[in-house]
Symmetry: C2
Subunit: 460 residues, 2 copies
Amino acid sequence: MTQTDFVFLESIVGIDNLFVLDEIEADFSHDELGTIQHAPEAHVYITNKDQVSKIMKYANLNLIPVTVRGTGTGLVGACVPIYGGILMDTSKMNHILELDEVNMTLRVEPGVLLFEIYEYVEKQHFFYGPDPGEKSATIGGNISTNAGGMRAVKYGVTRDWIRGLEVVLPSGEFIKTGGKVVKNSTGYSIKDLIIGSEGTLGIIVEATLKLIPLPKQSLSLLVPFKNRIEAIEAVPKVISLQSLPTAVEFMDKQALKYSEEYLGKKIPNANFEAYLLISFDGNSKVQTEQDIEEVSRACIEQFNALDAFLIDTDERKSSVWSARGAFLEAIKASTTQIDECDVVLPRSEITEFLSFTREVSDKLNVRIPYFGHAGDGNLHIYFCKDEMIDQDWKSVLQQGFQLLYQKAFEMGGLVSGEHGIGYAKKEYLEQQVGHSQIKLMRGIKQVFDPNQILNPGKII
Amino acid sequence: MTQTDFVFLESIVGIDNLFVLDEIEADFSHDELGTIQHAPEAHVYITNKDQVSKIMKYANLNLIPVTVRGTGTGLVGACVPIYGGILMDTSKMNHILELDEVNMTLRVEPGVLLFEIYEYVEKQHFFYGPDPGEKSATIGGNISTNAGGMRAVKYGVTRDWIRGLEVVLPSGEFIKTGGKVVKNSTGYSIKDLIIGSEGTLGIIVEATLKLIPLPKQSLSLLVPFKNRIEAIEAVPKVISLQSLPTAVEFMDKQALKYSEEYLGKKIPNANFEAYLLISFDGNSKVQTEQDIEEVSRACIEQFNALDAFLIDTDERKSSVWSARGAFLEAIKASTTQIDECDVVLPRSEITEFLSFTREVSDKLNVRIPYFGHAGDGNLHIYFCKDEMIDQDWKSVLQQGFQLLYQKAFEMGGLVSGEHGIGYAKKEYLEQQVGHSQIKLMRGIKQVFDPNQILNPGKII
């Protein structure tokens, strides 16, 4: 980029919202995981959608790469500007625009944080269903990766809660897709193509989210098992009971130990080998308690659980869920570097896949802690570098990922449940979906972005 | 098409599954509504996916148009072979392939009928959520239009229940997208692009449906109001109560009268001006009854309802729901010809839109009965030709549709909630989404089908 480009950007966003070359902080060269690194030439805070359109028109004309970034909480390098150019930062475009109580929708700008959405709507007795682990992610980032989270068992993923999008195309044109409507059979679903496209097809400048009335009750059960296999094998059985849980999370002693060390406090009832953390919500106290009762009984009497602890007080809730929430940070803190596999499998295959992961760990002599959204078959598996030298680490990652993904594909699994493909998982996507589908994806990219200026080098 | 082409087709599907030229029955030149008509040159029953692939390869090479048809229950001409060529009939490719009880999925061929799916899974205590009015549609057709139906309020639309698809591209290549997995952030969602694409991007040869445990209870309320406005205005209020209904249907005296005449029997409590038919399901009798109780009370005490009749016996259920189910047939039977508008609006706009529809009816002097999925803002509005001469009819339709769609767009509505665009609604799609988005859709079509042989002339 040239001085002329910087002058143009300054004319659009003002001097306070533009950082160029050496002024750019190092944090903006990588995401949360940090394995993929490249600095932008200009770091631009946008504050409204007209700026986005003007910048895209200019970039498209001058063939300058543009990469969109929210709060950079991704794990696959999707927001890293690997070809330099403009890093378009949405974190200041963060207004909640409208709560429509009649249509039960919330219109937001892309930079609103997930926890801000929860806070805002819950105060008005509404509920936004998706529950990704990282609450300081932006909603734009959540939509771009089709983020999932723990409540997917009952409430689905981000895609299921997006009613409408306004998008700026690489050309600078605006399009609107969907709206405040519940049903939509109006041509190809451009909305669903944008969701999960990791900022490669267009820039989300406004989203209309679906809300529902806030469930009045929420309760959790911590259910210990003799070992991992018995815990995991109980999962599909729990889900096929009539009382649909909100979340079914798997945790083992090791993951809890990391959390205890990281948080510096003990977790109650943490002396068992493996656990399911099962939660329920609903509108009637009687009903939620009946659900809990039914599941507790079935776990102990039929599914080999050793006990079932009700997590009812605020203190116990906070203790157990903060332990669960800290897993990623705790694992990161336990080692020098991590890389992760976010595979999703049919629920029936989790036991076998985790046994295979243990085999890979032994074979490659690498520590591989994991935890997972067992209820929806989505596992987060972490390779830990520990004291390994760089060369060995690279080779372990390459062999390990190859083995795990290959096994996942054989079992009907997919490369990514909720973190996306970004830059880090490109080769595995191609292995999985094959040439015909990659060709379609490339063709679609070309239709949206003929000059390949928007987040180049990602997904495909 | 030439004799050589027919010989090729016979070599693939056998003589019993091929009908050419004059042998083709007139029914296969149109869909349920019958306004768009064109005969195919060859009507081919396919029975397996390899046949689909072979026929597509041949057609692609020889530039023969191919149009896929299920049971032809569409209303916008999407399955009408307007350029002739091959009509590929999926109705004999109708096997249920696998019920996976652990992963709660059902694998089916495209020609399985909707009511066959309900029957099959409910026998095994599972539940498939979408509930489109036409139960003898094929699942392939449902996916191709992203069919909605009455239970969308609680259970969403077909898109929300499709876990995976296997598709034959116009080139004859196979692709698989999704699977038995709950989450998916694995590249662009080709699955969601195929859903709702009305057979223009690829041919669905297998689908994996999501199931849930069958709710144990199901109850309905018939709630009468003084007039249409009061009934419709109660809808968003009912939905914002905590007890989420399965369906909220709007009916007026006139629509019920058509049904009574068509079915030749009286409907209980049918002497009011307007109604909401509200249903609930759940797993606990106590809970479902509590929901009904809460909603009845709120309707009468707060939302101006005149009464609330519990539809509890099998006889009452069958009587009320069969009246509701017969609306389309009853309206068709009441006149010489109909055409329909399947607009979807934000729930808050229904009252005003229906008042506008009355104005259009008066202004153009045409009878326009309607009914609707009030709970999800999707209205079915029927223009009736009655004794009008052809020329007037054409002009009334053109003016009437233009007025209604324009009004819908101003209110944030869309051309189609669940019936699709097909051939009949193309011009309104373009008016709605604008040039930029039509260009994207055309580009996507070109990527999938560069020779424009698959269902040409539809959507865009």
